[in-house]
C-alpha cells in the first residue's frame, strides 16, 4: 500500500512550498491585468466599451479548454501508467474547468446581447462550449457516482478521453462553419492580428487565469491527497 503514497507525499511537500509564491504572482498579475484592461486600453472602434468583456471572456475560454486538455492528458496517464497522482489531478481540475466554462458562457451571452442583439444562438462554437460544460458536469458526477472511488476515477478517465474530440471542435468551429462568432485573431499561424494596446491586457489576463488555475489545482490536489491519506489510515486502524 505504502509505496503508492511515497511519491504523492513528496508532491504534497513541494506543492506546499510552491503555493504561496504562485498565489502571490497570480494576485499581482490580476491587478496589473485589470488595470490595463479597464483603464490603460482604448475602446474598440467597432464594439466600443463592450470590448472590455473580452479581457475575461477570452482568457476564461483558453483556460477552460486548457483545463480539459490537462484532464485528458492526466486520464491517459492514469489509464496507461496507473499513476495515482494523475487521477487526483484530473478530479481536482474538473470543477475548476466547469467554473471557467460557466464564465465563458455567461460573459459570452452578456457580450452577445449588445453586439449580436441576442443572448444565444445555436451555432457550432456556442453549442460546443455548452457541450464542454456538460462534459465537465458528467465528469464530476461520474467521479462521485460509485462507492468505490477507484472505479469513479477510471470511469471518469474514459469519459475525459472520449470527450476530448470536443476540444478541436470548439477551437476550429469558427473556421469550419461561418458563424456570428469572432474567428481566432490571436492564436493564428500567421501571428496575432490585434492591436498591441489590446494585446497587452489580454495576454496579462491570460497568464493570470492560467496561474489562478495552477494555484487552485495545487490547493485542491493537496486537499484530495489529505482525504485519501486519511481514508487509508482509517482502513489500517479498522483492523
Amino acid at each position: 500500500m505504502l509505496h503508492r503514497f511515497a511519491n504523492p507525499a513528496r508532491f504534497s511537500r513541494i506543492a506546499a512550498t510552491m503555493l504561496p509564491w504562485v498565489a502571490g504572482v497570480t494576485a499581482i498579475l490580476f491587478i496589473v491585468g485589470l488595470y490595463f484592461a479597464l483603464f490603460a486600453s482604448p475602446a474598440d472602434y467597432q464594439q466600443g466599451e463592450t470590448v472590455r468583456i473580452m479581457y475575461v471572456h477570452v482568457p476564461a475560454a483558453w483556460t477552460a479548454m486548457a483545463c480539459y486538455t490537462f484532464i485528458a492528458a492526466m486520464s491517459a496517464i492514469s489509464l496507461i501508467w496507473k499513476h495515482p497522482l494523475a487521477d487526483i489531478a484530473a478530479r481536482s481540475a474538473a470543477p475548476l474547468g466547469a467554473g471557467f466554462t460557466i464564465i465563458v458562457l455567461a460573459t459570452g451571452s452578456l457580450w452577445g446581447k449588445p453586439t449580436w442583439g441576442t443572448w444565444w444562438v445555436w451555432d457550432a462554437r456556442l453549442t460546443s462550449v455548452l457541450v464542454l460544460l456538460f462534459l465537465y458536469l458528467g465528469h464530476i458526477s461520474l467521479t462521485h457516482a460509485f462507492d468505490n472511488p477507484a472505479r469513479g476515477a477510471k470511469a471518469a478517465a474514459i469519459l475525459a478521453l472520449v470527450g476530448f474530440v470536443n476540444i478541436p471542435i470548439i477551437k476550429f468551429s469558427v473556421d469550419w462553419w461561418n458563424t456570428l462568432h469572432q474567428p481566432a485573431s490571436l492564436t493564428r499561424l500567421d501571428g496575432p492580428s490585434i492591436d498591441p494596446s489590446m494585446l497587452t491586457p489580454l495576454l496579462l489576463m491570460g497568464v493570470a487565469f492560467t496561474l489562478y488555475f495552477v494555484t487552485m489545482l495545487l490547493v485542491r490536489m493537496r486537499a484530495d491527497l489529505a482525504a485519501t491519506k486519511a481514508r487509508a489510515l482509517r482502513l489500517n486502524a479498522a483492523e
Binding site: 457541450v131 458528467g138 457516482a145 472520449v162
Partner: protein, 221 residues
Amino acid sequence: MIGMLLLIRRDLMLAFRGGTDAAMAVVFFILAATLFPFGVGPDPEVLPRIGGGVIWVVALLAAMLSLERMFSADYEDGSLEQFVLSPLPLVLVALAKIIAHWLTTGVLLLVAAPVLAVFYNLPAAAFLPLIVSMLLGTPTLSLIGAIGAALTLGARRSGVLISLLVLPLYIPVLIFGALVVDGALAGRDYGNLLMVLGGFLLLALAAAPWATAAALRQSIE
C-alpha cells in the same frame, strides 16, 4: 467473428422474445411522435414546420431510453463477467452489443420514420433526406450510447447519469440531422451536412468500441 455473430443472434432473440424489449424504442418513438399533435394542436401550418425536428428529437430520446438496458441485464445476472472471461476480445463483445442495439432500435426507427413523416405532412422532398440522415445518424447514437451505458454500470442513479453523459454528445448529431431535413425543405444543398454526419459516424466507429470495452472491463470488480 463467430462469437460476435453468436452474441448478436442471442441479443436479437432476446429482444424479439421480449426479454430486453426492443420494440419499446419504436413504440415509444411512434407514440411520442403521435402525441405532439395532441399537445400542440393539429395546425396544418405548424406541424410540417416542426415535423422533421420532432421526428429527430423523438428518435434521439427513443435511442437514449433503450440504452440503460443495453448492458444492465448482463451485468446483473453475471453474464458480463463471463464475457470478460470468454475468448472473444471485449472490444468485439462491445461491438456486437452495439450492432445488436442498432438492429433492434436504429433500424426499427428508420422503418418507422417515413410513416411519421406522412403523419406530419412532411413534403415528399423531405423523405429521402430524413431517411438518409437517420441511416447515418442512428448508428452513431448506438455507438456513443454504448459508452455511456457501460460507464454507468453499477453507478448510483445510473439512469440520470447516462442521460447527462450521452445527450451532450448526441446534440451535434441531432443538430445536423435536423438541418439536413430543414435544408431539403428549404431547397438547399444538404450534401455536406450528410458528410458531417458520416464523419461523426466514422469517428464514433473508431473510438466507441474501445472506450466501451474499457468501461466494461472496469465495471466488473
